[in-house]
Amino acid sequence: MAETSSVRAALADAARYGLIAGALAFPILALRVEPDFSNKLVLETRWSWMLGAAIAAFVIRLVLALAPARAARRTLATAVDAPSAGGKTATRAIAAFGLGLIVAWPLIVLFTFGPAGALKWIDNYGVQILIYVMLGWGLNIVVGLAGLLDLGYVAFYAVGAYAYALLATNYGVSFWLCLPLAGILAAFWGILLGFPVLRLRGDYLAIVTLAFGEIIRIVLVNFSALTNGDAGIASIPRVTFFGLPFIAGPKGFAAYFDIPFSPIHRVVFLYYLILALALVTSLVTLRLRRLPIGRAWEALREDEIACRSLGLDTTKIKLTAFALGAMFGGFAGAFFAVRQGFVSPSSFNFVESATILAIVVLGGRGSQIGVAAAAIAIVGGSELLRELDFLKQIFGDGFDPTQYRMLLVGLAMVVMMNWRPRGFVSSRTPTIFLGERKTIAADLVQEGRG
């Protein structure tokens, strides 16, 4: 009885929403004024659009109204089985499988699509995503562990990229020497940013870091004598296989190993290079978390005043977090420059910073796997939109799915805010234990206020 009455109520409610949506759609969608060929305005009517909007609102509302009963059951179930040991081994198995898949990805794609078709899948879906995974892991040190909100992370990425670009084009320094140099330079800039913002917290810290990111970009635009301004730096030496260039000639990589030349060699090498860099970032971070410095970062995020009362020098702790996060950003920047062969200030605008921060927040601050998953979702997702060309057959030739990228990101954010406000992986794993390692629920872990 109760069941039918609730369904009836849901139907009535959905019908009301459908009516409202239809009424709203009438002026917005149903009526359209267009100039005809003689430039006279003609009123067109699109009743099917209006009807579609009304039906969509009706269906969505109905589903939502009937869903809570199911949702309540689900929360009960997860509350019971969350801390089970089976879940832990399953997570580990998923992580191992994921890592295996990532390592084998270029080979899988090569066998599936052949050298010509695989290029896109390794470059756009492999290298591109891994750069953001690495940047996300680097920023995770600052935002996730130390709890310092940094909106200008792209500045360090830019420093790394320009460090390699300038050193390689002007002085012919090799990539392998430039890589640590780029990291050191970025760390230096990280400390430089760290000093003025030491006393700032929360919103103020975010604003100053945002400004710092913009300052670096604007300097790159205007310091033309060094950076060539908006035009950027072109023909940066490409990556070599430890000295062997990926070229067709007799001195190239292919000739040395006596295999037919293919542009895919370089891309595969770049893939494994960025994979190695990203894994180093992750391993160092995981290791540091279990050292006094990592614990101090997390303690800083939890309570800065308590840290000081225990004799922890919060200045040094903040600076090391900024410096290390920046260093990994610098590595990623040098990789970016060697991959593109071209850098310009337009690659380092605020949207990049926002994307990296969105990856960290979406993944769950402090979580390595969560950040990797978020990078795949955000970067891979927006690449996938390019693959949706078949939609043109439904919506007409003017339809470009990539135009909806930001709309979808916004939608995803709203969904996440409701579903998992603390990101994919929000629990925290202790760094040391006496009896057993129990994960800590997100609501106890502080987010840091800068």
């Binding site: 009362s309 225990l310 004799g311 800590i440």
Partner: protein, 300 residues
């Protein structure tokens, strides 16, 4: 209980300290000594300035005027103290001028640890992690600024094991061993209070400052706390505590300093304080005329 011999050496000396916030004088010309091996209690009605005194001693506030000196390893020697004050340095030769030092150096070099009135644990970290973070300095040195730690050097492993053993000892002492791996924020209130004391002790202090350690505890927990504080003192750490609970103060303290409106109105052994008319007046709240009369009587 208290040693009847000559008074033990002075560990912490507060001299003519004042703290003004704009027009408000929170602490007015306060002087007192904390002797080594004592439990010194700082009491007074609400708003008397007790926590302000704590914040000045531990460096969270800079006093407007006055001198706070601390001798973690020996006793305060007036001549050496004056020489140090004139030299303009922060400290040296076992003597520190706390009003010149930033808060974390007071905790680290002058070895003054503290707890907070509103508990400040690292809520998202486990009880054990809280105690390990407090041992940051020896661990940091053992990890050679993370380099030896990164490669997993045996010397660092040994240091971490030692830190874990020390933390475990403290967890045993406060009866929280079974909850070592639970997040500190999920512990009951009384456990959090004891854990905060244990965390401060893991920083290896000479002087432990406790801001209302018995607040919110039931009588049984309060008695356990008294035993814990006594055992800490008997192990060689001096205590300075702010407390409202008179049973705690009278039972465990060796020396009591009473504040009212930022001024010291009494200073002595618990028995003397209990009989002091100005203290009674401050606590029971007699009418103003009578206070004046009482003050005249005692010559304040």
């Amino acid at each position: 209980m208290a040693p009847p011999q000559a008074p033990s050496p002075t560990l912490l000396r507060v001299e003519r300290m004042s703290m003004r916030f704009g027009g408000l004088t929170a602490v007015d010309d306060l002087s007192f000594d904390v002797r080594r091996g004592d439990i010194t209690a700082l009491i007074g009605p609400n708003g008397a300035g007790k926590t302000t005194v704590f914040n000045c001693i531990t460096g969270f506030y800079k006093p407007t005027s006055g001198r706070i000196s601390m001798a973690p390893d020996g006793a305060i020697d007036s001549a050496a103290l004056d020489a140090l004050t004139r030299s303009g340095a922060r400290g040296g030769e076992g003597l520190h001028l706390l009003e010149r030092m930033p808060d974390h150096e007071i905790a680290r070099d002058a070895r003054v640890a503290r707890t907070f009135q509103n508990i400040r644990l690292f809520a998202g970290m486990t009880a054990l992690e809280n105690l390990i973070v407090a041992q940051h300095r020896p661990l940091m040195r053992a990890s050679a600024f993370s380099l030896a730690g990164l490669i997993g050097a045996p010397s660092y492993r040994a240091a971490e094991q030692a830190a874990r053993d020390k933390a475990r000892d403290w967890l045993d002492r406060i009866g929280l061993t079974a909850r070592a791996d639970d997040p500190a924020g999920a512990l009951p209130y009384g456990d959090q209070r004891r854990l905060e004391i244990a965390r401060a002790m893991c920083a290896d202090p000479v002087l432990l400052c406790l801001d209302e350690p018995a607040a919110g505890l039931n009588p049984r927990e309060s008695a356990e706390l008294n035993a814990l504080l006594r055992s800490i003192r008997d192990d060689g750490t001096s205590l300075l505590l702010i407390e409202h609970d008179m049973s705690v103060v009278m039972e465990i303290s060796d020396h009591v300093v009473v504040l009212d409106y930022g001024r010291k109105i009494a200073d002595g052994a618990p028995a003397e304080i209990r009989a002091d008319p100005s203290v009674i007046a401050a606590y029971l709240g007699v009418p103003d005329e009578e206070v004046a009369a009482v003050e005249q009587e005692i010559g304040a």
